[in-house]
Amino acid sequence: MTTILFLLALLALALAWWGKRHLSIAVALVSIVIGAAWFWHHVTSAIKVDL
């Protein structure tokens, strides 16, 4: 999963270089959202949380 997230980050950099500003921002946001979701899964599966 982390490898895919780094690939998305690399894609975002490449899109910025090629002049695709909005697409680059969108890919970066997708990467952050997937990373946050994966992180949340990691937290909740590791410990019993009571919010």
Binding site: M1, T2, T3, I4, L5, F6, L7, A9, L10, A12, L13, A14, A16, W17, G19, R21, S24, I25, A28, L29, S31, I32, G35, A36, W38, F39, H42, V43
Partner: protein
């Protein structure tokens, strides 16, 4: 702040974060300390944090670009704080070694906090009605250096993470899973 000064600051910001990532790669390959899954997510946040300044260099300074970096910094703070809390109680152990009495995940939290403050300051100094809507050419030296520098670091991180984790990263990595698998040395 003038557009040219803002671009200079953004360039320095990219070099600074790139330096932090180079340090983490040195610790991985030079000192043999493998990053854990949470450490990898912190690295990802550092990479994504540089996207805002890179976009500023390429397309002129915009508030939207800073927002991407702020979101990445908040994500990184969340992950590093989680790792700090995992080990904050004395006797619960730690991951990796310490630099000047602070572990690397604690340093990451400090860097994310400082970066967030710097981005907020740059946003504050950014004029509300900016007319800098040029697209700067790829041949601009600052753009070329910043993009090549971050591109190389990110490509290295892709390869290093894939060699270490494959598609699924173990909680406590002790070796390069993919290298051992290809050599037929993996346990079990």
């Amino acid at each position: 702040m003038s557009a040219e000064w803002a671009r200079k600051l953004n360039f320095v910001f990219v070099l600074g974060i790139g330096g932090v990532l180079c340090g983490s790669l040195f610790i991985q390959f030079g000192l043999g300390d493998l990053p854990c899954p949470l450490c990898l997510l912190q690295r990802l946040a550092f990479v994504l944090m540089t996207l805002g300044p890179l976009l500023n260099l390429r397309f002129g300074v915009r508030q939207r670009h800073y927002a991407v970096s702020m979101l990445a910094a908040l994500f990184g703070m969340m992950v590093s704080m989680r790792q700090v809390l995992l080990h904050i109680v004395p006797g619960t152990g730690h991951y990796g070694f310490a630099v000047i009495d602070l572990h690397l995940y604690t340093w990451a939290f400090v860097f994310f906090t400082v970066a967030l403050l710097v981005i907020a300051l740059m946003l504050m100094l950014h004029p509300e009605t900016s007319s800098d809507d040029r697209v700067y050419p790829q041949s601009d030296p600052k753009i070329k250096i910043a993009f090549v520098f971050m591109g190389l670091i990110t490509a290295t991180l892709v390869v290093a993470t894939f060699l270490q984790c494959g598609w699924q990263c173990p909680d406590n990595p002790t070796s390069y899973k993919l290298v051992l698998n290809s050599l037929g040395l993996a346990a079990g």
